[in-house]
Symmetry: C2
Subunit: 145 residues, 2 copies
DNA sequence: TAAATAAGTTAGTTTTAACTAACTTTTGCA
DNA sequence: TGCAAAAGTTAGTTAAAACTAACTTATTTA
């Protein structure tokens, strides 16, 4: 079921979003993103990664030099950052409830691609409010046992 | 990106979940689910629906008699109900924030397939608590302008 | 610095879930 | 009752995104 995702300006597919997210993460943590590391982070083959990188280059989200390496373009970095930010907000929200980190990661990794800006803003504001209400959160955690 | 969804006993794909959800909805509203109505609800071709119905029959989620009609099996109905319930809980949650109905529907339709039971329980409990705190909700709605 | 290993690429294949076109069955109505 | 329209089915095609196998380029190390 190809559900269109209008949540970000340049409507990228879930797949593209996950690649960009991983690439930015690798650049932030080690300074560069190699094919082999992207592949291992996404648990897919290097061949698939090469293929996608070439596509992202074509789409202007990164510049790629064969066999050498890649850098995100301004557009690519901006998009990657918004994807990472959305992931973080959703994670922060779910962390309020004492859900297992693995479960949170799994759920966020799937749902993030389907959250529109209005919904994300609501969740962000809600998270901020809930953080100021430990009593309410305590009640919720009890309910979850 | 084939993200496995362990959120329901018999791990059905997002696609299967959407079909079952539509089928149950049609049965609830008009008493039966025809190929042509499932197709129009999901905005896909009748041929695709026929194909999926045959698959769901094979998988034991419904009984299908060619050219005649279908009924959900006990397993199929149980699964469909849990899918519908999850959809409802997520909708109830997002309705708290004054998000447009269209946006809510779109987001829920996508994210529902990636919400694990613990996350769903947390959201359910949170919704119940927030309903008792109109002041907090009012504050959130202001933030969203 | 040459051989071995690691990394990256290409070509072709697979899977899933759509699609269209042509056909069959059922239903509704003159 | 029979025929046209609606509904449903089949067969073959397409597209996205994965895969494997074989190949090329780069890096490491003896
Ligand atoms: Mn993510
Ligand atoms: Mn993701
Ligand atoms: Mn739904
Ligand atoms: Mn859905």
């Amino acid at each position: 079921m190809p559900v269109k995702n209008p949540s970000l300006k340049s409507a990228a597919s879930s797949t593209v979003e996950d690649y960009l997210e991983r690439i930015l993460e690798l650049i932030n943590s080690k300074g560069y993103a190699r094919v082999v590391d992207i592949a291992s982070a996404l648990k897919i083959s290097q061949a698939s990664v090469t293929n996608m990188i070439q596509r992202l280059d074509t789409e202007g989200l990164l510049n790629y030099e064969k066999y050498r390496g890649l850098v995100l373009t301004t557009a690519g970095e901006k998009l990657a950052r918004s994807i990472a930010h959305r992931h973080q907000l959703l994670t922060d929200f779910l962390k309020l409830f004492g859900i297992d980190d693995d479960v949170i990661y799994h759920d966020v990794e799937g749902m993030e691609h389907h959250i529109s800006p209005p919904t994300l803003r609501a969740i962000e504001a809600l998270t901020a409010q809930l953080r100021r209400r430990p009593a309410l959160l305590a009640k919720l955690k009890l309910a979850g046992t």
